[in-house]
């Protein structure tokens, strides 16, 4: 099949996303620098410096911090430095964690993918399967029940279900490990290695993966269903039937392709925001990903890490959305790219 690269469309998208990134950096500068330091007149040392560090005196620490972050410079110099640092990923050194900030973030980032990405894939499978099931049975009781449950999942607080699940199946029945640390050590207390490590990881992640998938499939299921129903009633389906195309083909080739495009598109967007919503599952199951990093930074008022982690999350969203812009024309031939 011939496919021409839609250059204009792509260039336009790239420019749009870059503008967005710059706006976000400015926005962050406003809330991380301007508001605490210039509006609330807060001493930046309050959130950059631990109370004691390697026996240095407090004033030496503060001076060092001022030098490192350029806090003694005029504000526009700080601004330019900030933008530069963000774009080059120079996040500096966290005295509180005693580690470079970029290292802390890099450690947290992949942890999410173990659970969140498989659950996203699983929920897409649920969404498409159940959505098509309902679309084909539109108006019948089985459709109504199926749709009702999908709607119900929109509103179930995820943290609530996770707690109940953890309580009953984790603590009371002991069916699965209740936190990742427990999952990755052997009964004797030694850390697992090799296959046993992977097996432990799988055993630990399978429950949250399934729960998260069940909590997340609803919106896309409803999308699949509504487009499926529309497709079932469309004139091209009538035409296909008249052409003698077998019903199986009509449903599984034509209706399905038309119905899943919006769900797939939506999955892409959910993928972009998947880490952003991971705080609860990480907190409850005790694994240390980006969500937990943000959460703990918030609890300890660690503004430095908070701002940088937030920037990385936004950047991740922008990059994923940009990749999606490139993929959409391949999935849906109707995406306008002129």
């Amino acid at each position: 099949m011939r496919f021409s690269v839609p250059w204009r469309y792509l260039v336009k998208r790239i420019i749009e996303r870059i503008i967005l990134l710059i706006v976000i950096i400015n926005f962050l500068f406003l809330i991380i620098y301007i508001i605490p330091i210039y509006v609330a007149h807060l001493n930046p040392a309050e959130f950059y410096v631990p109370l004691s560090y390697k026996g240095l005196s407090r004033s030496t620490e503060v001076e060092a911090i001022d030098r490192e972050f350029g806090l003694n410079q005029p504000i526009f110099v700080q601004y330019i430095d900030y933008v530069k640092n963000m774009l080059t990923f120079h996040f500096g050194y966290s005295l509180i964690y005693d580690e470079p900030v970029s290292k802390i973030i890099l450690q947290a980032l992949p942890v999410d993918l173990i659970i969140l990405v498989p659950s996203l894939i699983l929920s897409t499978v649920f969404a498409i399967g159940l959505g098509l099931f309902s679309a084909v049975r539109f108006g019948r009781l089985s459709d109504s029940i199926n749709t009702f449950f999908a709607i119900l999942t929109y509103f179930i607080p995820g943290f609530w279900v996770l707690i109940i699940f953890l309580q009953i199946f984790g603590f009371q029945l002991g069916l699965f490990p209740t936190n990742i640390a427990q999952a990755l050590i052997s009964p004797s207390g030694a850390p697992l290695h090799g296959w046993a490590y992977i097996a432990g990881l799988i055993k630990f992640s399978i429950a949250p993966i399934i729960i998260l998938a069940l909590l997340a499939y609803g919106v896309r299921m409803a999308l699949t269903r509504s487009y499926g129903v529309e497709s079932m009633g469309s004139s091209y389906v009538t035409y296909l039937r008249a052409k003698g195309i077998p019903e199986r083909s009509v449903v599984y080739k034509h209706v399905m392709r038309n119905a899943i495009i919006p769900a797939i598109t939506r999955t892409g967007i959910d993928f972009a925001f998947v880490i952003a919503g991971s705080v609860f599952v990480e907190d409850i199951f005790g694994f240390y990903g980006m969500g937990e990093l943000l959460y703990r930074s918030a609890l300890t008022f660690n503004v430095q890490i908070l701002g940088d982690a937030f920037y990385i999350l936004s950047l991740y969203v922008i990059v994923v959305l940009l990749v999606l812009d490139f993929i959409y024309p391949l999935i849906d031939p109707r995406v306008k790219y002129e």
């Binding site: 967005l20 509103f155 925001f273 907190d283 918030a298 969203v317 922008i318």
Partner: protein, 480 residues
């Protein structure tokens, strides 16, 4: 109008949802009448109403909970009198007259049908007249007797080998024997317990003593002086702090979960209502302006909306809140208005997009242009044509945004980043999960109600919203 009401009332899902919504509105608005408590989180007198983690009263229909005691408070009556003195009862007081070395036991029957209570206490007022008296309080079950406490005048205490408590002769002694205050220093029984049990006696006494069965509370009075003794005993009472309490049991502080639930309902609904007004207000204005005016205004508003849609919401919420706390600005604003402002200010984008798209679709319909051709100005067109046609969507958005606010706010409260000092459904869940542990078991009466309330309320609002949209929208609007 009647036609609309008629259509609405013919939809079962709508009716059921309406009943659920009205139920919650009722609970919220009648909160002050449903519970005497104001804030079980900070007012300590509203805590310890029953044992921590008390089950709801009605849960005793389940076999595993059937013997859990409720709070008990009873006057002790019709004592069995044993001894060699004389006694009389005038309706309020027992008068015991004893010659030297005589004694008299008032043995009040107590029938206990439950498992052990959280704590118990026996109280009465004793006014001894004479030289010296010893008053012993015992609890007897069949052939086992627990010598709880012994009262003698201070001067006589050295005569005894077991712990005794002071008794003032010729004065009013308010005597209270509470399982929580019994220790090896004041209770003969406790002092006989093995060492390890002795130290935690106040916690385990009820368990050691109470099983279902017949007990007697014995107030034993003995004349240990040399002249005649006359003792008045008033208002003998037995009370127990139960392990089954109220409609929804208690939390880790022994505070009423029902009170928290009801107060939380009111608070959540109030916050949700205000934040939803902000969300729909911003969404409606931006959406209408962007959709109706179009052109560069639309471009700008749409870009602004896309910006807010692109930055990850929950992390932004957390970051913003922290900044406000760190910078101390929160002290000037207060956490509740700040939460409402942040949630409202970060949740309007979806509503704006939908209002914009329906406004665009109404605006593109010929009747709008026809109205313009008749000489109508933009405000008239918006008022007479656009708004009435998107009314269903606006109502639906109101209904859909309330759950969004409640869920977001509950999430923040759950994490401890939102409201923590006053009951909300969210922080109830947060505390419930923090305090449920393998040891405490699964405190379902604490964990389940807020969660189900959130779900029921949200689903009800969803159906109300979608029905309103259906009925009020003459043209098909795709809800996504």
């Amino acid at each position: 109008m009647n036609r609309l009401v008629n259509q609405l009332l013919h939809r079962k899902a709508f009716l059921i949802s309406l009943v659920i919504l009205l139920f919650f509105i009722f609970i919220a608005s009648a909160a002050n009448y449903l519970t005497p408590y104001k804030d079980p989180y900070t007012i300590t007198s509203e805590q310890h109403l029953a044992a921590p983690y008390s089950i709801p009263i009605w849960a005793r229909i389940f076999p595993q909970y059937s013997k859990y005691p409720p709070n008990t408070n009873m006057d002790l009556k019709s004592p069995l009198i044993l001894g060699n003195g004389s006694e009389s009862f005038n309706g309020t007081a027992y008068t015991v007259e004893l010659k030297p070395s005589e004694y008299e036991n008032l043995s009040f029957p107590l029938s206990w049908n439950y498992q052990y209570p959280y704590s118990f206490s026996i109280s009465f007022i004793a006014i001894p007249h004479g030289q010296a008296a010893q008053i012993n309080v015992l609890l007897k079950q069949q052939n086992k007797t627990y010598f709880l406490e012994s009262f003698v005048p201070s001067a006589d205490q050295i005569l005894y080998t077991y712990p005794t408590c002071p008794l003032s002769m010729g004065k009013t002694n308010s005597i209270t024997i509470s399982s929580e205050s019994l220790s090896s220093s004041n209770s003969p029984y406790v002092s006989t317990l093995p060492g390890n049990e002795r130290y935690i006696a106040s916690a385990i006494l009820p368990q050691l003593i109470f099983k279902p069965g017949k007990y007697s509370v014995i107030i034993s009075i003995e004349n240990i002086g040399t002249s005649p003794l006359k003792v008045y005993i008033y208002q003998p009472k037995f009370s127990a702090v139960g392990r089954a309490y109220g409609i929804l049991g208690t939390d880790n502080n022994g505070a009423s979960v029902f009170a928290e639930f009801v107060l939380g309902a009111r608070f959540d609904l109030e916050i949700a209502a205000i934040a939803t007004l902000i969300i729909v207000g911003i969404g409606l204005i931006f959406g209408l302006v962007a959709g109706y005016v179009g052109g560069k205004v639309d471009l700008f508003l749409n870009a602004l909306t896309d910006f807010f849609l692109t930055i990850p919401g929950l992390p932004l919420l957390i970051t913003l809140e922290t900044i406000f706390v760190v910078s101390g600005l929160i002290l000037k604003i207060g956490i509740v208005p700040l939460l409402i402002a942040i949630i409202g200010g970060l949740s309007w984008m979806g509503t704006m997009k939908i209002i914009r798209s329906v406004t665009l679709s109404v605006r593109s319909r010929t009747f709008v242009e026809a109205s313009k051709a008749l000489g109508s100005g933009p405000f008239r067109i918006i008022r007479k044509h656009v708004l009435p046609n998107i009314l269903g969507v606006v109502f639906a958005q109101i209904a859909y945004d309330v759950p969004v606010v409640i869920l977001t706010e509950s999430g923040l409260d759950f994490l401890g980043l939102g409201i923590t000092k006053f009951p909300t459904w969210g922080n109830m869940l947060g505390y419930a999960s923090a305090y449920t542990s393998p040891a405490n078991g699964f405190v379902w009466w604490w964990v389940l109600p807020p969660g189900f309330a959130i779900i029921f309320l949200s689903v009800a609002l969803y159906f109300i919203g979608s029905t309103l949209q259906d009925v009020l929208s003459p043209y098909k609007v795709r809800g996504e």
